[in-house]
Symmetry: C2
Subunit: 148 residues, 2 copies
Amino acid sequence: MAQVKELTVGQVAMRSGVAVSALHFYEARGLIRSHRTSGNQRRYGRDVLRRVAIIRIAQEVGISLAEIGAALHSLPESRTPTREDWNLLSTGWRDNLDRKISQLKKLRDGLTDCIGCGCMSIDKCPLRNKEDRLSADGPGARRLLVES
Amino acid sequence: MAQVKELTVGQVAMRSGVAVSALHFYEARGLIRSHRTSGNQRRYGRDVLRRVAIIRIAQEVGISLAEIGAALHSLPESRTPTREDWNLLSTGWRDNLDRKISQLKKLRDGLTDCIGCGCMSIDKCPLRNKEDRLSADGPGARRLLVES
DNA sequence: CTACAAGCTCAACTTAACTTGAGGTCAAGC
DNA sequence: GCTTGACCTCAAGTTAAGTTGAGCTTGTAG
């Protein structure tokens, strides 16, 4: 394989549409990696563009950086991830995504199940009660968004 | 219509699964409303349970409180919202939701379109380039999540 | 070889969405 | 009639996800 040209942070920022500061931030969080030039400047391989794209897309649908990071760690660090690797990653998210998709659909379709059935009482509601262990903990400390 | 019993903040917290402090917070943000007893305690009508349920569901799929608040304001304040009202609300979100659903599906299906086509270069990518006006602004200040 | 755009680090600020705590009030049971 | 748990308000703290700025270094174009 021919050596493909590496990218500077500025170039990655341009091409990915995220700010340089965000790239620094993602790197600090371990979501992307770079190596340094002799002058201590970051250089990125091409696959960083895919990673960043995934990060932004996943974020837009409400997945936290922590979760995204965990998923990205399933990618091989030693070699450039193949298409197979990426597919594996996304299937790992499938349950999570399926749940969100169905919630979105219900919301979109007028929440018919819930609003129609008058079951809003949390412990019965089929929509709210999927995996919803939080309410069992009673009111009190909880994460900003449901984990899982 | 018979007078239905009103709920205290604690009861709403129990039944909805959100903390009392969060209910106070939602009220301060104008997402829910209450009236007060002579002793200055909050009392809620039954429909608050639906409102709260909607809030939590919408949040879980990445809609901000500001957006949710805007949508909830489309509900009538003078009377208890009917099922029709709720449906109207959710259809108002349809575009937003449809976009999110399709993004989720792409993510779930292995991002085949994008990863397969090698088009991650932001200005061409069909997945990232839907409504994505942010990158055109160049790196710099931007909202935490796409406003859309 | 020098200017100046692009990088670097680190600390502090920002926004959203709540939670926690302090200090005080209300009300239902014994 | 008093105690105890639920409420109240308001201020301050917290977490996530970045951004902004200061002060300093690199590297490339003229």
